[in-house]
């Protein structure tokens, strides 16, 4: 049985300066209730690992606009103009990571691997400062694991063991992030009793979830 809390209670342990992973792709599959609670809580100086800077008026994008993020690790920031402005002014450090590399760096942190070898980024600025290795005649970049103190993930249905299902294209980074953090908070649209979620439909095993956040429920 997992801790069942409101979004506000669930984000309370997140301190200033924490390293966070936040699931979602352009707000699809993003735990918006958790990002809103974090915004209201005033937490700042965050390092955020997420696919993109989203839109200025929603989810992670609002944390960017409010100046809560000190360092952003993402693959794309183009649809949130404030992110580019804060990067250029030096207010927010941005590390751009190819999307597939981002997913694998997070996954290998949760999967007990020391890194991943990828051809992506060879011959570009991405390879700067990284080790190259040749395997069977092909050159790869060594990309290292990305871990976090907390992961905030989105689920459509979650049972009291934390087993979760995220619908459709909302899956994106939610599974790998749930695996890679010390403490994972799963926001859910619908909390169900144990046995109500078909094990065949589980997209995030409950063992990766520490806290289930649901609006108003106990």
């Amino acid at each position: 049985m997992k801790k069942i809390q409101t979004p506000q209670e669930a984000v309370a342990p997140i301190p200033d300066g924490a390293v966070l992973m936040i699931g979602g792709f352009m707000c699809c599959g993003q735990p918006i209730r958790l990002t809103e609670a974090l915004l209201a809580q005033g937490t700042k100086d965050l390092t955020v690992i997420t696919n993109d800077a989203g839109f200025p008026d929603r989810g992670v994008g609002k944390l960017v606009v409010a100046g809560r993020i000190k360092r952003l690790i993402a693959s794309h920031i183009g649809l949130n103009p404030t992110a580019g402005q804060k990067m250029n002014s030096g207010e927010m450090a941005v590390e751009l990571v190819p999307q597939g590399t981002l997913a694998e760096r997070i996954r290998c942190a949760g999967a007990g691997l020391g890194g991943v070898l990828t051809p992506t980024g060879l011959g570009t600025q991405v390879e700067s400062g990284k080790r190259k290795m040749e395997i069977d005649g092909r050159t790869y970049l060594l990309e290292t694991p990305l871990k976090a103190d907390f992961a905030l993930v989105k689920t459509s249905v979650c049972d009291r063991c934390g087993n979760a299902f995220t619908a459709k294209a909302g899956k994106n980074f939610n599974l790998v992030m749930a695996m890679a953090a010390q403490h994972t908070i799963a926001e859910t649209d619908r909390l169900v009793e144990i046995g109500e979620l078909d094990p065949e439909r589980v997209t995030i095993p409950g063992i990766f979830i520490n806290t289930v956040a649901v609006q108003g429920a106990r």
Binding site: H76, E104, T120, F173
Partner: protein, 229 residues
């Protein structure tokens, strides 16, 4: 190298150019192929896939079977494309997470990726993700797509908005990938990237080989039988 004269802009309207490019790219897609279309102009290609071909579209955010944009009032915010817009799914598709999506992309399971470009050069190098100091949107999935897809098609206007060539001897902007581009389709020409340079294979109806050469910033080998499209 001699300095090329300043190219003249094409008279065709912007929308017509884009349709011409999209239609020509669609003709490259084989029956049964898995294709990823980039945001913007490449997205238009979906409108011109012949009805007698089955082509599945992969969406980098986690599914195969990308359909048209959702009609107003039917939006499902759990189903968006790589630009964050609500879309639909065609029968025969499936969902997966980002790790698997990029295994599909990087692992060579995507037959064709179609992307826009800021610059392409005669080595098949591509620059399409940033203009330092000006526009730094990030590479998103583009670096993985061009490295992993079996065939990389660039769909873009032949010259930039100032009339300057986008096809160059060497890219000047930060690269998205080295030597990965296979084919360049513009409003003026179809150009194949060979190991020893660029080959002009087709020109658009209403233009000439000379005009294409004038609007291109590097040497073009002219195919023996240049076709029209």
């Amino acid at each position: 190298m001699t300095q090329k004269p300043k190219p003249t802009a094409e008279p065709a309207a912007g929308a017509d150019k884009r349709v011409r490019i999209a239609r020509r790219v669609a003709a490259e897609l084989a029956d049964g192929s898995l294709v990823n279309l980039g945001i913007g102009l490449p997205t238009l290609v979906a409108n011109f896939i012949p009805k007698d071909k089955t082509v599945f579209l992969q969406s980098e955010n986690g599914f195969i079977g990308l359909g048209p944009e959702a009609a107003p009032g039917t939006e499902d915010w759990d189903l968006v494309n790589a630009g964050g817009k609500p879309v639909t799914m065609v029968p025969g598709g499936c969902y997966f997470d980002s790790s698997l999506s990029f295994a599909v992309i990087r692992g060579g399971h995507v037959d064709v990726t179609v992307l826009g470009a800021l610059e392409v050069d005669e080595e098949g190098n591509l620059a399409n993700y940033m203009i330092p100091g000006k526009m730094v949107p990030g590479m998103g999935g583009a670096m993985d797509l061009v490295v992993g897809a079996k065939k990389v098609i660039i769909a873009m206007e032949h010259v930039n908005k100032h009339g300057a060539p986008k096809i160059l001897r060497r890219c000047t902007l930060p690269l998205t990938a080295r030597k990965e581009v296979d084919l360049i389709v513009t409003d003026m020409a179809v150009i194949r990237v060979a190991h020893d340079g660029l080959i002009l294979e087709q020109i658009a109806e209403g233009t000439t080989v000379e005009a294409v050469v004038r609007c291109t910033g590097c040497q073009l080998q002219i195919h023996q039988k240049v076709g029209e499209f």
